[in-house]
């Protein structure tokens, strides 16, 4: 009896196929046939050497092997889930940062803090609170593994303030030159509305400043600035319907504080949505993991030994 047509051999193969279904589907799709082939080879050798006893002993080896490898593959799949979870947390952090900053600014204004200091809240102090909120919440998601937390908060504030100053400088310069491309009577007012506030410039300034807080040296300042700039631009566009809705709601009796906080939180969430994917790529994407079944990276040809 030296073939696997014997019942225990066939049953073993059938059982092993059932076990394979418990591995993550991507792994089975990519390597399932090879795993089964290796099992068949082992089974054949075990049977040829020790008959039925060999098959029984083989299972003592296969079961722990299956359990440990399945756990490894599943925890690896859980790692992929955590990457999605990271995106969600990042979007929430941006939303909470913007929302909490706006709430703090509204609270300080209600308490007469700005009047007490004799400053106009529209000159950037309210924005400062938003950058503080954004930095604090973002740093909680990134944890100390990816960034220097305190530095992240400080640099986010610095980037936000510099960005706001930059936009103010540009709008002042345009006014000084009597150029008002965004004045209400121009059609550009609507089509280029996000440019009125020059949000991409603020985003780029924040991204550039935050780059100094990344622990990973391979994050490129230009890339992260571009991502933040894009996120700010996207947020500026997509928040417009919400701005209109909130303005309408507040005009019709909806609580102003609640409306402002909600509007800022939505803007923050949109900013988070625009930046979460690239950020995930920056933090986990090196080297990037190919999709199952995708062609392998080509490496220099190796001399066959």
């Amino acid at each position: 009896m030296n073939t696997l047509s014997a019942q225990p051999g066939l049953w073993s193969i059938r059982c092993y196929r059932w076990l394979l279904w418990l591995y993550p589907s991507s792994f089975v799709k990519e390597l399932g046939d090879s795993v089964e082939q290796a099992f068949r080879d082992m089974l054949r050798d075990a049977y040829q050497k020790h008959g039925y006893l060999g098959i029984a002993l083989l299972w003592f080896r296969i079961v722990p092997d299956f359990v440990f490898s399945a756990v490894e593959l599943m925890t690896s799949a859980a790692g992929d889930y955590l990457k999605w979870y990271f995106r969600l947390r990042w979007v929430l952090a941006c939303a909470l940062g913007f929302g909490a900053g706006a709430l703090a600014a509204m609270a300080l204004r209600s308490a007469g803090f700005f009047d007490y200091l004799g400053i106009n809240p529209n000159l950037g102090l309210a924005g400062l609170l938003v950058w503080i909120g954004l930095g604090v919440f973002q740093s909680q998601v990134l944890t100390s593994q990816f960034c220097h937390r305190a530095r992240w908060v400080g640099l986010t504030i610095l980037g936000g303030v510099l960005g706001m100053l930059g936009t103010r400088l540009i709008t002042s310069a345009l006014s000084f030159l009597a150029m008002e491309p965004f004045s209400p009577d121009k059609w550009l007012t609507w089509t280029l509305r996000p440019l009125v506030t020059l949000l991409p410039l603020v985003g780029a300034a924040i991204g550039f400043a935050q780059w100094f807080a990344f622990r990973q040296k391979d994050v490129r300042a230009f890339h992260w600035s571009l991502v933040c700039s894009f996120g700010a631009y996207l947020s500026g566009w997509l928040v417009l319907p919400f701005s209109a809705a909130m303005t309408f709601a507040i005009g019709n009796g909806f609580d102003e504080v609640m409306g402002t906080v909600l509007h800022n939180a939505i803007a923050g969430a949109l900013f988070g949505l625009g930046t979460a994917g690239p950020l995930k790529g920056i933090l986990w994407g090196q080297p990037s993991e190919p999709e199952p079944g995708a062609p392998l990276k080509s490496f220099p040809k190796e001399k066959s030994a």
Partner: protein, 115 residues
Amino acid sequence: MGKEFLPLNHADLHILLVLADGERHGYGIMSDVEEITGGSTTFGPGTLYTSIKRLLTSGLIEESANRPDPKLDDERRRYYRLSALGRKVLTAESERLSVLLRYARDHRIINPKAI
């Protein structure tokens, strides 16, 4: 280059060592690991292919386009070989381990004549 992969885990190191000698299919790798370790290290198919997937992803090994002669072996078998990066990593890991072995020998943790 390649030091970011160190230290290699147990299974990965054994697979790379075997592939340094030439292309192998999965069961060939398992058999050779068992042979070169005198039977002290054995893998099951799950452990083997979990490692192979990891090594493929990180570019330390690559799948060979060569297929066996259908008369001699199952042509569906996949063969794997060491990539240039894999060879560098294997060299770096071997050098790292040799430093540890030298320390163990110098401190008479192992018999100097055993190496």
